[in-house]
Point group: C2
């Protein structure tokens, strides 16, 4: 399952500049994380089995609605489920069996740059930016609607971020473009301004199909896998349930289009617990599992073997105002439980990120984000949407927040690499050389390792208070503001075959001309 990596090792000799270059190259060449530390579990076998049993009860007794999609109901009926109106009830174990029979345990999402292809599942973690915000926040502009220029900026910043492995999807909504045509420009931006893997449109089955057609143009002869005779998986897509226990025709239509093209679906109950699920962790987990099982099983019925990811998005809500709240303990518990349930089922898992409710990149945003991202990593999430930029419960994409979260994602690479127990890692030579009462700064081991010893944040300030004041007493957001501007100024696009570029633009222009702009 591992993709071959040619990770250059740091040279012992060659001077500081060479070491720095080697370090940069190494960071840049890490296209995904392979965890070397275990996952954290909050429930034992008995607890997990209880929740699985409750999920089966939901699927059997209560059932799931498939709205406005007669084909879906026919598919379920043919498979042996009970269908009454739009309600589908499945015998215990049916959905689980369908998923386990044909869904891959893990798969590779190919990027146009093969060095950027990512494995989804197993011990791997892939970081993607936030998804879906209609608003932008920056220190310069405050809060305003997002535009396609913002979208391109975030594709570029994500391309430049060595700790993000994936270009994401609807990083922000380009509100300046017609709703029914903006998917062309978003998908094209991912293809043009990055060579990392990306996500397709899910807001209409036709837009999903457009995403697939553009991927065919981008990948050309590489689109079909000669080994399997099927398309390679080159797009991953966010298929949200309309919780509780409902799938709508838009999401079902997009899922069918992608699955039939062997593209991946992240089947995600999107749950604000207390509104769309019970106020408890165990209740939310059972419902999430039932909904996800139902969606993944449906995809396997439509396109056996199509890659699926079990997704879980769960926030708590303020029981006073009904507002979603993030970075609280309950969603972390849901995440740990769902990650374990996905492992038991045998499919990749998506959850978490750097979620927060704060409107601005302040301490609230940071506490909440860290309280989501660390469980994400310790829990063993495979595909992490919303790793960077998320503000205001997902309503706003923040430029400064993005830079701050990218830094945190970088730290997670080091955490997940675990403890080096080699002789160099044990460092007994250093302890022997230095001895009691001396210091380690100048010893041979420190000199040999200091370039790579500790994670280095590019934006944290650890200087003396005097120096920090002399540099303007800036907070983290101000330093992040300078960082993203500098990055955008230095951005260079990865090369793209001009003929491919032209073909993509031709396709978009031709398609856009066939129907009128619309607000829906």
């Amino acid at each position: 399952m591992d993709i071959e990596q040619s990770t250059p090792h740091a040279h012992r000799a060659g001077g500081r500049a060479a070491k720095r270059a080697a370090r940069t190259a190494r960071a840049a060449s890490m296209p995904y994380i392979t965890r070397k530390i275990g996952v954290y579990e909050v429930l034992d076998e008995e607890g997990l089995a209880l929740i699985e049993n409750n999920a089966e009860t939901i699927l059997e007794e209560i059932g799931i609605d498939y709205r406005d999609d007669p084909e879906a109901l026919a598919v379920w009926k043919a498979a042996g489920a009970s269908v009454e109106g739009e309600r589908v009830r499945c015998p215990r174990g049916m959905c689980r069996s369908l998923v386990q029979a044909t869904a891959p345990r893990d798969f590779i999402q190919h990027a146009r740059n093969p060095a950027r292809s990512v494995p989804i599942g197993g011990k791997h973690t892939v970081f993607a930016p936030a998804y879906g915000s209609p608003f932008i926040r920056s220190l310069d502009d405050g809060r305003r609607y997002a535009t396609i220029e913002d979208f391109r900026n975030f594709v570029k910043l994500t391309y430049l971020a060595t700790s993000l492995h994936h270009s994401g999807g609807t990083i922000c909504e380009p509100v300046d473009l017609p709703v029914n045509k903006r998917h062309f420009d978003m998908v094209y931006s991912h293809m043009k301004y990055s060579d990392k893997p990306f996500m397709g449109s899910v807001t209409h089955p036709e837009r999903a199909q457009d995403s697939v057609e553009m991927a065919k143009i981008l990948f050309g002869d590489d689109y079909m896998d000669p080994l399997t005779g099927k398309p390679k998986t080159v797009i991953i897509n966010l298929i949200n349930a309309n919780s509780p226990m409902t799938w709508d025709s838009t999401m079902l239509g997009a899922a069918k289009a992608y699955a039939r093209a062997n593209q991946a679906c992240v089947v995600t109950p999107f749950i604000l617990a207390g509104a769309m699920s019970p106020v408890t962790v165990a209740g939310t987990a059972a419902q999430t599992l039932a909904e996800a099982l139902s969606g993944m099983a449906f995809i396997q019925l439509v396109a056996p073997g199509a890659p699926v990811v079990l997704g879980s998005f769960a926030s708590s809500i303020s029981m006073q105002s009904g507002a979603p709240t993030f970075g609280t303990p309950e969603p972390a518990l849901v995440l740990f439980v769902m990650a374990a349930l996905a492992r038991r089922l045998g499919v990749p898992f998506r959850s978490g990120g750097a979620l927060c409710g704060s409107k601005i990149p302040d301490a609230q945003a940071a506490y909440e984000s860290a309280n989501t991202l660390l469980p994400t990593c310790l829990g063993g999430v495979n595909f992490v949407l919303h790793t960077a930029g998320w503000l205001e419960g997902g309503l706003a994409m923040g430029y400064e927040k993005f830079v701050m979260d990218v830094d945190q994602a970088g730290m997670m690479h080091t955490l997940l690499a675990g403890v080096d127990l080699s002789e160099n890692g044990q460092a007994m030579d250093a302890i022997r050389e230095v001895g009691p009462g001396k210091h380690f700064l100048g010893c041979a081991h420190t000199q040999a390792n200091f370039e790579t010893a500790f994670y280095r944040s590019p934006i944290a300030d650890n200087n003396s208070v005097e120096q920090w004041e002399a540099e303007g007493s800036q907070d983290l957001a101000q330093r992040a503001n300078a960082s993203w501007k500098k990055q955008l100024a230095a951005y260079e696009a990865p090369p793209l075959d001009p003929a491919v570029d032209e073909a993509l633009q031709d396709y978009m222009n031709r398609r856009k001309a066939t129907f009128a702009d619309s607000k829906y």
Copy 2:
């Protein structure tokens, strides 16, 4: 080991006000955490044994210096260690055997209010505020030297904080008082303005003895335990190693004074990795274990059975400037490793907190603090110093940071309580009642549980952006600023027998009069 708790349960009936009162009472009456979720482990048996073996090599081959304390050297010599000059070398396994022979696996630190007594060790976690800052930071004053008034303020705020279980020790340095007399005022403040357990002075053996004498006055007839014939453990104390591999006479003297009075010592190598230990996690862990074993074994030789806690304070440093850095991944890994080593040894463990390098309570402070506190809780730390207030690598105690961290500590209570798998927790009735496509806000299960369903932050803002703007677009630090002022204004001291109060003041005044003020 559990202290009997009379936790009132929330009543199902009785109206919103009664439920709110019950919730407040329950929070106020939780004097410590008993974790219901497992601990996170990063190393397996083989890895932990490797580090233990390296620690024994350090103790045997390299040895530990005991500076300026002939008694300590004599104690070690009599015990069978090799003593050359001030260097003590112990045969493999000697320190470990000494600790395991007589040190308690866990113990109770008694508070003057018995309902506030805390168990140290096992599945328990006790939160104490930050320790040792000479400076204060607030939004009002910026950064300035701390005073005894600040000290009292933080004792009061800690007393009021339902998520902090312990009054701590040198919460900040009262720089306005003479160095050689300020311990009286600090210890007295803990006794007078709080009824939570507290820490004693360690800056001179005589000051340790003063702390013990004042505790005798405070506890009166309750000081001696009739069951054991020994003093109850009523003070816990921070005994830092002078890393690498050195103990100095100040700390040794304080440790001896406390241990002989059956008071607890937190034996803590204080390590900025790269300066006081190797730049690696495994090397830092081996050295920390060796130093801690040496200190704890010495205490067991001096006072067999005296309570000890294995402490670990490890930060990374910036290899450019030498400045300590916090909230980075490497110290989290050290913490996970050391927690496991303490469990294998069979002693309580102290580490972590809400550490950060940021000068101000901004997003840097919050990311770094959360990246320390969450590993602290998942790793299984028993005694958590620095839970609230820490800024600038410990140089400054922040009023706003304190309030923010107290909120985070509250969240950890919920996290560590784990997943409720009762019928009410499973919430299948709610899922049955609501069904597909409806919402859970009004269902019976939600109504019965919403008061206690989710952790409620008193300072996070989850309102709409419009409401947040209407309320002044405040960041978390600004809301925290209003909070600590409101709390201090409403503070009421816990009752203290006037005769005891007078006796404490008599003792202090008498002792203060026996020697001149000094800056050392």
